[in-house]
């Protein structure tokens, strides 16, 4: 698309911009700033509410809002730099904004990083002429356990409500009342609940919406924002970790326009306090007969690990979580495979390289004509930001379909396929579909597979890269090495441990290691690690250590153990990455992964040798039957479980039913239903979901009691309370 260019003179500078560009952007193109509060291009159409962007336009007597007025050829614009009238207009706006503002900057968490403060210094009046009592409101109001609202500081720019309406589309944040009594509130005063609520705390240009976790925790001049990548889901949103005195105090988005556009989910934003969970391990624990686990020194722990490894030579089986860095897996794999000839691993999930030919940045979803979302797991539960891209696509006019055979798919120019599980063979299925549709050669077309784990691909890459041998099948497990919290929390893994002679658990949390491990080695979290992750686009990204972990880094003791088995391994992520990179990432240097990483190809991807050892057979539902999908909710897992203020976000026990299936069984919203299969049954309230396909029922894993596959569903008998 080549838009017609128009010439605009702004503060005596000539600039050419596409016709229809608003004056705020036009000024930016000319290297000039028009100050704004309500204007935020990511929120859709400009609003023109705050009146901060007033400019003088030649031939128009009144000042004009720069955000809503668009450039016309020959337009002559003066900003506050050159126009007395515009400067007075902006001064007036700031005076009005400050009339009821409490000016409590010294105790406001936004102070020092506040757009209102900054613009007041630059454009505002030095004094107030307001001599009456200011508007007061009850404050702070917890609009949810994670967000506090201070209505006195609010300048009613409506960024938050526009986000709620036009980005996350949750429609929960609204403005109530009218005129000077207008307030931001939640619909029906219910807690603001949803995957993306925390973004309003970053959109807010004043200290009105603040993350409750951060209240009175730090001042801008005593913090450092460390750029890293979120490690809680396969999207890999770019984030900044705000660090004060060695502690993470807050997570902020760090706009990667191709991945997250500056939005992050509430899990990524608020779950970081799991680093300081009550059961966080800092000392190794050793099982002592009749005493249970006892804290031991690191020397003792490494000696013990060496002993257990030697005893199980060739028979060590490793279970990964999918949240390890590439470097951790490579290090552990090198030790076990090269040093101990143990090649058996249970990878967190199947990941196929088949999609490499259909790679696209996530942002291309927004520009698609047709987006086909396949699978029954809600996208938001698996890769939340992808859900925002799909919503943006729909607002852009794209059709969102759930069937790749829809004739619209063949007719559309830009088609994006998204596989959201369950099943899907690590992307193989959707890759085949993409091949059938010939998407590889078509511009703007591609396919995504939403993995279940944050770094499933990177873990698989690293495990495959560390050794060429495959080893032979083993008949018994000498030692089970359980890497990471997700694996440690998995009942299947615990069952496997019962078959093993001994078990080493690497975990951050005591609660996950107690009762079954022979040796527990404290683990680190993604905010404490330096290394690389591969996200669902296949994009290699760099994690940075934002704070020092309370225990030695995994690479440290792995390298020490490796030395004892004559394996040469450096304890430094850069050195380890160099080895992996030679084999997998085209010899890319560690320093070149980049803080805003580009989407690179996969030049030398090795064949995936390891496979998921516990495949779940997929049952096809026959006519009239219902297949139950038990999905892992976004707000679940070891980190979320340890953050009290996120508990309200966890899914209610309920069964989602399609409108069709509900009607057929005379089930209404809220009715208790019994879900049964093979003699076991659960009873839950039903929620009819019109978007669910007939033949599918859905329940959060934690409420499924192990049920999945073909089930019988019926209205429960009335039980008296």
């Amino acid at each position: 698309m080549s838009a017609e260019l128009v010439r605009v003179t702004i503060d005596e500078r000539d600039v050419h911009v596409p016709k229809g560009t608003n004056l705020v952007e036009t000024a930016l193109a000319a290297g000039l700033e028009i100050p704004v509060f309500c204007y935020e291009p990511r929120l859709g159409e400009p609003l023109g509410a705050c009146r901060m962007c007033l400019v003088e336009v030649e031939g128009t007597p009144k000042l004009q809002a720069g955000c809503t007025l668009t450039a016309v050829d020959g337009m002559v614009v003066r900003t506050a730099r050159t126009s007395q009238q515009a400067a007075e207009g902006q001064n007036a706006t700031l005076e009005f904004i400050l009339v009821n503002h409490p000016l409590d900057c010294p105790v406001c968490d936004k102070g020092g990083e506040c757009p209102l403060q900054d613009l007041t210094f630059r454009y505002g009046p030095g004094n107030t002429r307001m001599s009456f009592e200011k508007l007061t409101f009850e404050k702070p109001i917890p609009i949810s356990p994670t967000i506090s609202l201070d209505r006195e500081r609010c300048i009613l720019c409506y960024r938050c409500t526009r986000f709620s309406e036009g980005v996350s589309e949750d429609l929960q944040l609204i403005a109530a009342n009218r005129g000077s009594l207008s307030v931001i509130t939640t619909f029906e005063d219910l807690p603001y609940k949803g995957a993306f609520t925390g973004n309003v705390t970053e959109l807010c240009p004043v200290g009105a919406l603040l993350p409750t976790q951060y209240r009175f925790e730090a001042r801008p001049w005593e913090i450092v924002d460390v750029p890293t990548v979120c490690g809680l889901c396969p999207v890999g949103c770019n984030i900044n970790a705000t660090v004060r005195e060695g502690k993470v105090k807050r997570i902020l988005s760090r706009n990667h326009p191709e991945i997250d556009e500056g939005w992050i989910c509430d899990k990524g934003r608020f779950a970081f306090t799991h680093l300081r969970a009550g059961d966080r391990l800092t000392q190794p624990l050793l099982r002592v007969r009749r005493h249970g686990l006892e804290a031991v020194s690191w020397e003792q722990a490494v000696d013990e690990a060496e002993r257990l490894l030697r005893e199980a030579h060739g028979r060590v089986v490793t279970v990964f979580s999918g949240s390890e860095t590439v470097e951790q897996v490579y290090a552990l794999g090198t030790l076990l495979r090269r040093g101990l000839d143990s090649h058996q691993a249970m990878l967190p999930e199947e990941i196929s390289g088949g999609l490499d030919a259909y790679r696209l940045p996530l942002s291309s979803i927004r520009d698609a004509d047709v987006v086909v979302v396949l699978g029954e797991v809600p996208v938001v539960e698996r890769a939340p930001i992808v859900d925002l891209w799909i919503k943006a696509a729909r607002r852009n006019g794209a059709r969102i379909l759930d069937d790749a055979d829809d004739p619209a798919v063949a007719e559309a120019e830009r088609v994006v396929l998204i596989w959201s599980g369950p099943g899907g063979r690590g992307g193989t299925t959707v890759a085949k579909l993409a091949e059938k549709l010939g998407l590889a050669e078509r511009d703007g077309c591609g396919a995504f597979y939403l993995p279940e784990t944050p770094n499933g691909r990177g873990v698989a890459d690293a495990w495959a890269a560390c050794c060429d041998e495959e080893g032979e099948d083993i008949d018994s497990i000498g030692l089970l090495v359980v890497s990471g919290d997700e694996a440690a929390g998995d009942d299947n893994v615990r069952a496997l441990a019962e078959q093993a002679d001994a078990t080493i658990v690497i975990s951050m949390f005591g609660g996950l290691a107690a009762g079954w491990a022979d040796l527990v080695l404290p683990g680190t979290g993604y905010l404490e690690r330096d290394g690389t992750f591969v996200n669902l686009e296949g994009r290699l990204q760099r994690l940075r250590r934002t704070v020092t972990p309370p225990c030695p880094d995994e690479l440290e003791w792995i390298a020490e153990l490796a030395a004892r088995f004559d394996v040469d391994l450096a304890p430094y992520p850069a050195a380890i990455f160099a080895e992996v990179s030679q084999r997998v990432y085209g010899s890319l240097a560690y320093g070149e992964v980049g803080e805003v990483a580009p989407l690179r190809g996969y030049p030398e991807a090795p064949e995936q040798v390891a496979r998921q050892p516990l495949p779940v057979p997929e049952q096809k539902a026959r006519r009239g039957q219902i297949r139950l999908v038990a999905y892992k909710p976004l707000f679940s897992g070891p980190a979320v479980e340890r953050v009290a203020e996120l508990q309200f976000q966890r899914p209610q026990p309920e069964l989602e039913l399609s409108a069709d299936d509900a009607r057929r069984r005379k089930i209404a919203n809220g009715d208790l239903v019994t879900v049964g299969s093979n003699g076991s049954a659960i009873t839950l309230p039903a929620r009819v979901n019109r978007r669910l396909r007939a033949g599918i029922a859905r329940v959060a894993l934690e409420h499924s009691d192990g049920l999945h596959g073909i089930v019988e569903i019926a209205k429960a008998e009335k039980v008296s309370a």
Partner: protein
């Protein structure tokens, strides 16, 4: 409630043609005075020709903005140029203080409004008409709905659907874009313009929005012919007649149809019978509460947009509210400011904040707690509102307040010298506004956290 006096005061009867005290609510009664003849004539013409006639007549909008009705209609794209429905929206949200003409049109000549809608629908080739009627107008709604039903049954709509939508009581929904938002079921807040409704109005489709009186005048334009219509009143710009809303402390308040160009004094003294009980005129709320107040020395100004404009006044919605010497102008300004503070939608900063600040300042003056410098501060606050808001509501609050401060500065100053209102309880704005305790907006304003 006593019936409002509604009559043709002088000049040709256009909007009220055929009305002689007996409402023309039935189709038969309206037919009997030539009703729907103009619709038939219009439908026999090319749509563009009808627009051309409106342009020639120089009919201007009666809602307050005085925009040429024909030109506005000509901005609407023709159906071959756009793949969207074209809408007509009639603004019957009559809420401007002092304005009570549209309700009388709907009560007395509802079919003429419908005929106007249908002529306009033909002119811009629309088949969807919304009439957005003020929520408090229940009798008017019933009368108008009955008339629409009767017209539909008589087959007069000709494929045009007329839907009457009742508002929910917000003044701002009389602003055209806020009205559209409200019509769409959203919060009634104005949109920023451009795009103008003619391009992107209701449901983002081309929309012609006109005031009730403007639409109702359309059949009259066709009846007398555009050239003739353009000679009535005060040509070239203030053509035709107006339904003047005369109220306040005047002997015979009412809705009077008269040509543009009669003087304010003529309307007040001759048509309205002057002030009762030997009271003297102190000021006129001219055009509506949104505009500068008129002082007695300007009473000989013609009710013609240009003549008024030359002296800094506005014809607005044809309001002439007479204020006599018993009225405290600080109280008057305060009441007006309270109204706008209450009705400000809260979307843009200057209006939301400025209206409340003005109320605080005026309250301080009224209580004798202000200082001389506050008068200039008030004028400056007004200046910082005017022309800087998203819509004109802010200006509407600031203009009358600024005019009161400027023109009645001595009276304002007397409040300071007297340590309070010199009128005390003697001025209750009697005959101007309902008492404070009967006004939802002032009651709420008093309760507001200050």
């Amino acid at each position: 409630m006593s019936e409002t006096t509604v009559r043709v005061a002088e000049g040709p009867a256009l909007v009220l043609a055929g009305y002689d005290g007996e409402p023309l609510t039935s189709l038969a009664a309206y037919r009997a005075v030539g009703g729907y003849d103009e619709l038939e004539k219009a439908r026999a013409q090319d749509p563009q020709a009808v627009i051309q006639e409106l342009i020639e007549s120089n009919l201007r909008g009666r809602g307050g903005a005085f925009f040429p009705t024909g030109r506005k209609a000509s901005f609407i794209p023709t159906p071959d140029k756009i793949a969207k429905p074209i809408y007509i929206t009639v603004n019957a949200d009559e809420s401007e203080p002092g304005t009570f003409k549209d309700r009388e049109i709907m009560l007395k000549v509802p079919h003429r409004l419908i005929e106007g809608c249908l002529v306009a629908a033909h002119a811009i080739q629309s088949s969807h008409v919304y009439i957005y009627i003020r929520g408090e107008y229940s009798r008017e709604y019933e009368v108008l709905q009955a008339a629409v039903d009767e017209a539909r049954e008589a087959g007069l709509l000709g494929g045009v659907e007329i839907v009457i939508h009742r508002g929910a009581g917000a003044y701002i929904c009389g602003e055209e874009t806020a009205l559209l938002e409200s019509l769409e079921g959203k919060r009634g807040q104005p949109r920023s313009k451009p795009p103008f409704p003619a391009i992107s109005g209701v449901y983002a489709a081309p929309t012609l929005i006109n005031n009730v009186e403007s639409i109702t005048t359309i059949p009259a334009v066709l009846a007398v012919g555009p050239a003739e219509f353009a000679q009535i009143g005060a040509p070239p710009d203030s053509t035709g007649t107006r339904l003047f809303c005369l109220s306040g402390n005047v002997e015979r308040p009412g809705v009077y149809e008269a040509p543009h160009g009669i003087t304010v004094r003529h309307l007040v003294d001759d048509i309205g019978g002057g002030l009762p009980g030997g009271h003297t005129l102190k000021a006129v709320m001219m055009g509506g509460s949104s505009f500068p107040v008129m002082t007695p020395d300007d009473l000989d100004t013609a009710l013609d947009a240009d003549a008024l404009g030359a002296k800094g006044y506005f014809i607005g919605s044809g309001v002439v509210t007479v204020i006599d010497e018993r009225t405290c102008m600080v109280q008057f300004a305060l009441r007006v400011a309270q109204f706008y503070m209450h009705e400000s939608c809260g979307k843009c900063t200057p209006c939301r904040v400025g209206t409340r600040w003005l109320v605080q300042l005026l309250r301080a003056v009224e209580d004798g707690a202000a200082q001389e410098s506050d008068f200039d501060l008030m004028l400056d606050v007004c200046d910082r509102i005017i022309g800087k808001c998203l819509c004109v509501l802010g200006d509407s609050a600031a203009m009358p307040v600024a005019s009161c401060v400027t023109k009645f500065r001595d009276e304002f100053r007397a409040h300071l010298e007297h340590g309070g209102c010199p009128f005390g309880a003697d001025s209750q704005l009697a005959g101007l506004f309902a008492p404070v305790d009967q006004h939802a907006h002032t009651a709420a304003a008093e309760e507001a956290p200050v």
